[in-house]
């Protein structure tokens, strides 16, 4: 197992290098430049040239790439000009906020999705199955940002139960209940679509397993139905559910961008959107590489978990 993990980690290196090249090229090739973004209406060629010199953008692209890569390998992601602070500080702070949001959402959608799928499968064509399938269809069809806005209107503006936006109260907050209160709506809105997808796939995975011989054998032996579902069938179905969870984790992470904007959650998605609009090159590059690295690591973790669950997958 150890050598398998090591092998996977080594194979991730060219992937990450490729990502650095791609994100660097994209930022170098898109029209518009940081100096124009800073100066706006005052972007005369003379002023632009001066700002570019101050930002080190007057060097050739190849040189800039290797300076950036070299600095990054020593842990120096550079300084964001649009926020006037070190890129890594900003990324870590923001990523923490995104992890809280996406992590909560991921736990929610995994738990609710699998639960709904299992119940649906166990009661195929029953009332519970139909109700769940219908709800899931709605969940999948509503764009998360729209759901978020509707939740704000209902629970924050009209009922005044929950705060509209942000991560902590501006005054007197900062503790766990305060965080939870701010977290409920964005986490649910973000989890909605992924819950639906996981529920559908769990249902079909369970149905497939439930038709197999060992389930019939278990039932024939007189094992309680509850134990058949939870012990025998779910465990077998998890092998096909877990990769879906891995994909949905990525989906939740990228969906966080919209939710972070709607709920003003101070996460990395909102940071990246602003950074792109401002052409804050170092912040975009650093942020994308960081998120990509996390995503690659997460996928490796999923593969490892899968191979642990299912001995048929070669390590």
């Amino acid at each position: 197992m150890g050598s398998y993990i090591l092998k996977r980690l080594i194979s991730a290196i060219p992937v990450l290098l490729g990502i650095t090249v791609i994100v660097f090229l994209i930022m170098a090739l898109i029209p518009g430049d940081p100096a124009t973004a800073i100066l706006g209406s005052y972007a005369t060629p003379e002023n632009v040239e001066k700002i570019n010199r101050d930002l080190g953008l007057d060097k050739p692209a190849v040189v800039r790439y290797f300076i950036w890569l070299g600095n990054m390998l020593t842990g120096d992601f550079g300084r964001s000009f649009s926020l006037n602070r070190p890129v890594l500080d900003e990324i870590l702070e923001r990523f923490g906020a995104t992890l809280i949001l996406a992590g909560t959402s991921f736990v929610l959608c995994s738990f609710l999705g699998i639960l709904a799928g299992v119940v649906s499968a166990a009661r195929q064509y029953g009332f519970a199955d139909k109700a769940i399938t219908f709800t899931v269809l709605i969940g999948i069809s509503i764009p998360s940002f729209f759901l978020g806005m509707m939740m704000i209107l209902l629970f924050a503006v009209n009922l005044k139960w929950l705060p509209v936006s942000g991560m902590y109260a501006i005054y007197g907050g900062g503790d766990l209940p305060d965080l939870l209160k701010h977290l409920i709506m964005p986490a649910l809105a973000l989890a909605a679509v992924a819950t639906g997808v996981i529920a559908r796939l769990s249902r079909s995975a369970m149905l497939e397993v439930l038709r197999q011989d060992f389930i019939r054998t278990a039932r024939a032996k007189g094992v309680k139905e509850r134990r058949v579902i939870r012990g025998h069938a779910l465990r077998a179905a998890m092998v096909s559910i877990i990769p879906v969870l891995g994909i949905q984790a990525g989906f939740v992470l990228s969906g966080a961008v919209y939710i972070e904007i709607v709920f003003q959650w101070p996460g990395i998605g909102r940071m990246l959107v602003n950074a792109i609009l401002q052409r804050d090159i170092l912040l975009v590059q650093g942020g994308v590489v960081f998120v990509a690295a996390c995503y690659v690591l997460f996928n490796i973790a999923v593969d490892v978990a899968q191979s642990m669950l299912d001995p048929r997958i070669k390590t």
């Binding site: 898109i30 029209p31 518009g32 430049d33 124009t36 973004a37 800073i38 100066l39 706006g40 209406s41 005052y42 972007a43 005369t44 003379e46 002023n47 101050d54 300084r79 649009s82 926020l83 006037n84 602070r85 923001r94 639960l115 119940v119 166990a122 009661r123 519970a128 806005m149 704000i152 924050a156 503006v157 005044k160 139960w161 929950l162 705060p163 509209v164 936006s165 942000g166 991560m167 902590y168 109260a169 501006i170 005054y171 007197g172 209940p177 305060d178 209160k181 309680k224 139905e225 509850r226 579902i229 904007i261 709607v262 709920f263 003003q264 101070p266 909102r270 940071m271 602003n274 609009l277």
Partner: protein, 525 residues
């Protein structure tokens, strides 16, 4: 059945948890505290170093922390004393001597004296200054006419300019001219922008990234003390969320209310405040080639577009129709005898017939949004329909803001016939000087992307820049507006009225034509 029981139990647990949480939520859904004003801003500030920033969003915080030598007289764009009680300008307009107010200190105790003023301008302008590396200072060119700054005595400071430059005083009143504490810059270095120290009615308390900037009343302020204990600036980039926060009572004040949301704030719980500012929204017309090379066609475009409909229907009354290149907010330099081009499609058709131009197909550069651009896509489609109605054939090309600037600023030649644009400036000199002179064509480093050229206009603008008499300058600007109005290098569309909403707990609030947000007199109950 067992399974159903289990899920029913699960449902009960979930319902219980919800019921337990909701009263908690209700009690904790706090009203904002009295004496603390919470302002919904449109973005996270970049820095609180006045020399390092360019955005109005950041200026709105800065003017409460800092003061400059001069300031805009409340309610106008005229220059009034600030930290300098008085000043003299030499006969030839190249020497400005300021006399500082006595007994003013920065929030960290550093005295405000001539050396401190000199430190501020040297830091921005002298590349060899030990703290020049705390930049970049993108708007330092506002003071590029300054050859040297000299501390004559403790409270007298003299600026020597390398040529007469009349907008110098207005530029000093602009936030780029706000004065920072030299000791704080030395202590903070590159991070000074996160630990700002000024002389203003509020002092800096805290900056929680992406959540809030908090400033507190300065108890030692030399002038009238602030009306609130603290002001909290919250960045809420999404306009709908900002509106929802305002409706839910999470913020006491919001700026830049989307026109379509204004109707939600009617009634006694809210007050909507409006103020016209030095903003002009126009279409640059390519006067070098294509149909708009002909003056009659440019005038026809001005007559063809229904500006009233745009400001009233698209912008819901948040702007006025513009008459010429200078916004009325510059009251002293504005030519109020100018009338906007009327909406007259028949006249437009006559002019087109008279011009005899056969090919009336136009390429129109449109942006998705940007600083001061209001609602550019709906405005563009409305104008497209108006122009097509008189015989033009307009095709729109849409770009993201930075890409758009990258296309428009280098000039429209060979690419497009017209482009949207908007400017907010601090002196009547700025926009025409940078965007209407012959020497401001893109290849000369200016923003005259439509290649307008009229020697008379060039001469008037040059003369206005070196005159030291405001009356004389006003006269030059008024003549310039008349000529430009007639030549129609642009379609003059709108002057934006900045707006803000306050809750009924906020008193004494008004907006300034400068678009800055002075909060020291505001009271929050």
């Amino acid at each position: 059945m067992q399974l159903m029981n289990w899920t029913r139990r699960g449902l009960l647990v979930a319902a219980g948890a919800f019921l337990a949480l909701s009263p908690l939520a209700r009690t904790a859904e706090a009203q904002t505290p009295p004496g603390v004003l919470i302002v919904g801003q449109i973005a996270e500030p970049k820095s609180l170093d006045p020399a390092a920033v360019t955005a109005v969003n950041d200026f709105r915080i800065l003017v409460n922390l800092y003061e400059g030598l001069v300031q805009y007289k409340p309610g106008t764009l005229e220059v009034a004393p600030g930290l300098a009680e008085s000043w003299e300008i030499s006969e030839d307009g190249t020497e400005y001597t300021f006399h500082l107010r006595e007994g003013v200190t920065f929030h960290d105790g550093t005295p405000l004296n001539a050396e401190a003023v000199k430190f501020n301008f040297d830091r921005m302008l002298d590349e060899n200054h030990p703290f020049h590396d705390t930049g970049p200072f993108p708007l330092a060119f506002f003071f590029s006419a300054v050859a040297s700054t000299e501390a004559v005595d403790e409270l007298t400071v003299k600026f020597t300019l390398n040529e007469p430059y009349a907008p110098f005083l207005s530029n000093l009143a602009y936030p780029t001219g706000l004065l920072v504490s030299p000791d704080a810059v030395e202590a903070g270095g590159a991070d000074y922008g996160r630990n700002p120290v000024g002389t203003g009615p509020f002092k800096f308390a805290e900056w929680r990234s992406n959540e809030a900037v908090v400033i507190e009343k300065n108890p030692d302020y030399w002038g009238a003390p602030a009306g609130t204990e603290a002001v909290v600036f919250r960045p809420i980039t999404d306009a709908n969320t900002r509106v929802a926060e305002m409706l839910a009572g999470g913020i006491d004040m919001m700026v830049e209310v989307p026109p379509t949301s204004l109707s939600q704030f009617q009634g006694d719980d809210f007050t909507v405040v409006e103020q016209a500012g030095p903003h002009v929204w126009f279409l640059i017309l390519n006067a070098k080639e294509g149909p708009f090379a002909e003056k009659l066609v440019r005038q026809a475009a001005n007559y063809a577009i229904n500006k009233e409909a745009i400001v009233n229907d698209v912008l819901e009354g948040t702007a006025d129709v513009a008459a010429g290149p200078t916004p009325p907010a510059f009251a002293w330099a504005y030519n109020d005898s100018l009338e906007p081009y009327a909406y007259d499609p028949e006249k437009a058709k006559e002019l087109l017939a008279e011009a005899g131009v056969d090919d009336l197909s136009l390429t129109f550069y449109v942006t998705e949004g940007g600083s001061g651009m209001l609602d550019p896509i709906p405005m563009a489609t409305a104008m497209q329909a108006d122009l097509n109605a008189v015989g033009f054939d307009v095709s729109i090309e849409t770009y993201e803001w930075n890409t758009f600037l990258g296309e428009v600023n280098p000039g429209l030649e060979g690419k497009a016939d017209m482009a949207e644009m908007a400017w907010m400036t601090n002196d009547p000199d700025t926009l025409p000087f940078l965007a209407l002179r012959t020497d401001a064509w893109p290849e000369a480093g200016g923003f005259n992307s439509g290649y307008y050229s009229n020697p008379e206009v060039d001469e008037l603008l040059e003369k206005a820049r070196v005159s030291t008499s405001q009356d004389e300058r006003a006269d030059f600007y008024k003549q310039m507006q008349e000529i430009v109005h007639e030549d129609a290098p642009w379609v003059f569309v709108a002057n934006w009225k900045q707006n803000a909403v306050t809750s009924d707990r906020v008193e004494n609030f008004s907006l300034e034509p400068s678009f800055l947000l002075h909060l020291s007199e505001v009271v929050k109950n």
